[in-house]
């Protein structure tokens, strides 16, 4: 017990929170590896969940997709495609785990509060208090083509709807106090309150009222995650979320984000500990640091094939580049600017706000380092966050947390479903030895695992 506190001083050690991200539908998943299994069979989800629970992780996280991505007008066929329904998988996983939190993304644009609230309240009952909701927003008409209301939302309105969706959901969750179900056979009283579940919520997006039909769940309401990184997204999280699923995987970017977001909490009357910041990270382990770096290079080249590199470049250039050699130089022509986009359904496309500047930057980088298209894409796209021996990775992760770059991590393995096994067996024991990660679950609910305050019961808003 002499080497654990890398931050020095008398600051108490922070406990690390860890979660497992089921490998999603993107090029971080290496499907071509002989060890890669099904991304749809329940046995895959059960394996990852059991590994995460064996390692005493806080939760397992599932992403969501509501329309298959397209590029150049065709369904994107290079990455893992096809995933199950979030709620149904999480409910089934509740049967094969006892303590692991069960977190899933559910879109606030293509759903309605009454239905989502009863699904989360049901999941929380069925898992005895282990549910979490990653609230995301969407606005594109492309995804809307699969739903009744279509692409009705203006981009600038999406957080308004998300905020109102959450407010409405809280009305529903809190419409039961928790003591109404008496179920006394002698007196014949089942409900102690004839008005249990009564709610009313009216806003610019919703005008709903009536009675909610799921009694108060063990956690009151699910743990709320938020994933956006925009100014609006950060403010939304500071006001409403229990945890942020961030993208900032480096120490400096992580610290800046952490300071910024935690600094916003006070204006909502919240303590810094009431919002956990959990970046999504990747890792590669090896017997030596050099061995791990070598493996990481191999993984990167598996993740970015020549064709994948061309397709990723097309998303910035906004034009068909299929006649280009991935081992050759970047296109001479500039990106196309305009309404037309070659890629549909991909969040990253929307972030390329200034493709001309990006193309200039990439050309300069390729020239300076003599990079082919594929080399360049590997260079500029995400790399593994933690690479090294288990000891190195444990030390680095602990440093991130003790230096306030995060409160923990959501680990996205590159292999389905066994990609977490080695981490669970080698890194977790080292974190436990340092006293920064639990050796047993202390609580039974996800809110307890995350050291979050008990969900407040709001006084139901009067009908306006």
């Amino acid at each position: 017990m002499s080497n654990e506190n890398s931050s020095g001083g008398d600051k108490p050690l922070k406990r690390i929170h860890l979660a497992a991200h089921f490998p999603g539908v993107n090029n971080t998943t290496v499907w071509s590896d002989p060890q890669a299994g099904s991304q749809i069979a329940f046995s895959s989800f059960a394996h990852l969940a059991r590994t995460a629970e064996r390692a005493k992780f806080d939760f397992l996280f599932l992403a969501e997709g509501l329309r298959l991505r397209e590029q150049n007008g065709l369904i994107y066929d290079l990455d893992v495609v096809g995933r199950p329904d979030t709620f149904a998988v999480l409910a089934a996983l509740a049967a094969v785990t006892d303590r692991l939190g069960l977190a899933g993304t559910i879109n606030s644009t293509f759903n309605e509060p009454y239905e989502v609230a009863r699904q989360f309240a049901s999941l929380d009952h069925l898992s005895a208090g282990r549910s979490a909701w990653n609230v995301v927003t969407s606005w594109d008409a492309f995804t809307g083509e699969n739903f009744r209301r279509g692409g009705f939302l203006r981009e600038e309105d999406r957080y308004d709807r998300a905020r109102q969706f959450l407010e409405a959901s809280w009305q529903l969750f809190d419409s039961w106090r928790g003591d109404e179900v008496v179920a006394d056979p002698v007196s014949g009283t089942f409900l102690g309150d004839p008005d249990a579940g009564r709610f009313a919520y009216r806003s610019s997006e919703f005008d709903i009222a009536g009675r909610f039909d799921v009694p108060r769940a063990p956690q009151g309401r699910p743990v709320i995650f938020q994933a956006g990184d925009s100014e609006q997204g950060r403010e939304f999280a500071a006001a409403s979320a229990d945890a942020i699923f961030s993208r900032h995987g480096t120490l400096d970017a992580g610290k800046a984000f952490y300071t910024d977001v935690k600094g916003r909490l006070a204006r909502y009357g919240r303590e810094p500990g009431s919002l956990k910041i959990l970046p999504a990270v990747t890792f590669v382990l090896g017997d030596t640091d050099a061995d791990a770096r070598e493996k990481a290079e191999v993984v990167r080249r598996q993740q970015v094939s020549g064709q994948t590199a061309i397709r990723l470049l097309e998303q910035v250039w906004n034009r068909d580049l299929s006649d280009h050699d991935p081992e050759g130089p970047l296109p001479a022509a500039d990106p196309l600017i305009g309404e037309h986009t070659v890629a549909q359904g991909r969040a990253s496309v929307r972030m390329n706000r200034d493709p001309l500047a990006l193309a200039r930057e990439w050309r300069a980088l390729a020239e300076a380092k003599n990079l082919s298209i594929r080399d360049l894409v590997i260079e500029v796209s995400g790399r593994q966050s933690f690479v090294g021996t288990p000891a190195r990775v444990a030390e680095e992760m602990n440093r991130f947390v003790q230096e306030d770059a995060s409160d923990g991590f959501i680990l996205a393995p590159h292999l389905t479903p066994g990609g977490l096994d080695e981490f669970a067996d080698t890194v977790v024991p080292l974190l436990q030895e340092r006293g920064v990660f639990r050796t047993e679950y202390e609580g039974s609910t996800l809110r307890e695992h995350l050291d979050l305050p008990t969900a407040r019961t709001t006084v139901p808003q009067e009908a306006i």
Binding site: W31, S32, I40, F42, G65, L66, L68, L74, I75, D77, L78, V80, V81, G82, R83, P84, D85, F87, A88, V89, A91, A92, A94, A95, V96, F110, N111, E112, Y114, E115, S122, L123, H125, L126, S127, A128, E145, N146, F147, R148, V181, A183, P185, G188, F190, L191, G192, P194, G197, F206, D207, I208, A209, G210, R211, D213, V214, P215, S305, T308
Partner: protein, 427 residues
């Protein structure tokens, strides 16, 4: 009746084996059932309660269980909320309950209820496909419309529904029913198209060409209807059964049409065998009119059952429950109170009308479920009318239904040899 004393080695050709389903809801279908000594009313919102019921149903080798659902608190009034406090109120989402018990069971079909009036077919399609993956081929779905205006207000996005309980044959009610059931029919069509939108074997993982999927085997469904349009394809691959089972409960004209046109399994509520014949004629006519005459559409009669071994005891228990409830129990389905042997006689009589099975609604849970699995089932087995072991691993298999051909699969496609590639083009 034959006087032969011979042990029946096999059932006579007229006596095809029966299918049995159990309808689970709350503490059973009698409103006072939750006050019975064996009831577990404080556990209605726990997974263990539902898992125990499912395990009991599976021990009895039942074909499937259904789970009731709605988008409002239960009410004694069919179309409006009430404020009673002496009856079970509150319910968990049926699809999630089914998914929660799927890994804990291995053979029984799981058929949750879902409301077509206020939900998205895209979401339901992937949820039930996922239930089929999680249960390895045992998923179904019972579609149900909502005629309640309190549910309209829970969603706040459509006009009030015009149904008059006092006169469901009024022009306004008939138009309202046609609207709701027409929407449900579109909904089922979208479910089926989405389940077919991935051909079997669309996932190729072809390292040589770098392609994970063969996009030629993924299909837009391009459904356009008055209430919704869905482009597709699904986000979830084609489930193990190809198409999970679609069921509906029907009491009258429009619902009979939905059953005949869209369902694989209809639950109906005949008063007697003659009524069953008349209902079957309506369902079969709708089936013929929809061009599905060659397909198997199962029709099960719903019965609420109170069972005791001692003759007369079940009627006594029902009377006691009625007294506790303060009113005589009434149901849309016929109410049976008697011994398992008497129920077996009744089922045989109904089956002769052409019904292929029964959905039994236990009056009290878990009590009457146990009388079904431990009393009725052995009685039917003795008569050669019910399975003695599960003979298939999928729900379609248990019901003798084929795995549907994929409507989008091309004749040249090299499919796994489960079905002939003679898919009908979607309507």
């Amino acid at each position: 009746m034959s006087a032969s004393p011979a042990v029946p080695q096999s059932p006579s050709p007229a006596a095809a084996p029966l299918h049995l389903a159990v309808a689970l809801d709350g503490a059973g279908w009698h409103p006072a059932a939750w006050r019975e000594p064996e009831a577990r009313p404080k556990e209605l919102f726990t997974a263990r309660y539902w898992a125990d019921l499912a395990a009991e149903a599976e021990r009895g080798l039942l074909d499937l269980l259904t789970l009731e659902d709605g988008l409002s608190l239960q009410s004694d009034h069919p179309f409006e909320p009430d404020t009673r406090t002496d009856r079970i109120r509150g319910r968990l989402d049926a699809v999630l309950v089914a998914a929660r018990i799927a890994p804990l069971t291995s053979h029984i079909g799981l058929v949750p209820t879902a409301i077509t009036t206020h939900t998205e077919p895209f979401h339901l399609s992937k949820a039930v496909a996922t239930l089929d993956f999680v249960s390895e081929g045992r998923a179904g779905l019972r579609v149900k419309v909502s005629g309640r205006n309190d549910e309209v207000r829970h969603f706040g996005r459509r006009e009030p529904i015009a149904l008059e309980l006092e006169d469901l044959d009024s022009p306004a009610s008939l138009a309202g029913l046609a609207e709701l059931f027409g929407e449900a029919e579109d909904y089922v069509e979208v479910l089926r198209r989405l389940w077919d939108s991935w051909e079997d074997g669309a996932e190729i993982r072809d390292a040589a060409t770098g392609r994970f999927i063969d996009r030629e085997k993924l299909h837009y469904i391009d459904f356009e209807g008055p209430r919704f349009a869905v482009r597709g394809p699904s986000i979830t691959p084609r489930p193990p059964q190809g198409q999970p089972l679609v069921a509906s409960l029907a009491h009258r004209g429009e619902p009979f049409k939905l059953a005949g046109r869209s369902a694989d399994l209809a639950f109906v509520t005949p008063r007697d065998p003659d009524d069953a014949r008349a209902i079957l004629a309506e369902v079969r006519a709708a089936q013929q009119a929809a061009g599905r005459g060659a397909e198997t559409v199962h029709v099960f009669a719903d019965l609420v059952v109170f069972l005791e071994e001692r003759p007369g005891a079940a009627a006594e228990r029902l009377a006691r429950l009625n007294e506790t409830a303060g009113a005589e129990y009434a149901s849309d389905a016929r109410i049976f109170a008697g011994t398992p042997a008497e129920l077996a006689d009744l089922l045989v009589e109904f089956a002769e009308a052409g019904l292929t099975g029964f959905r039994l609604r236990p009056g009290a849970l878990p009590y009457d479920l146990e009388r079904i699995t431990r009393g009725l089932v052995p009685e039917l087995q003795r008569r050669g009318l019910f399975r003695t072991a599960y003979e298939a691993s999928t729900l379609r298999g248990l019901l003798g239904l084929p795995r549907p051909a994929n409507r989008y699969a091309t004749a040249s496609a090299t499919e796994p040899a489960t079905e002939p590639a003679t898919a009908a083009v979607g309507a």
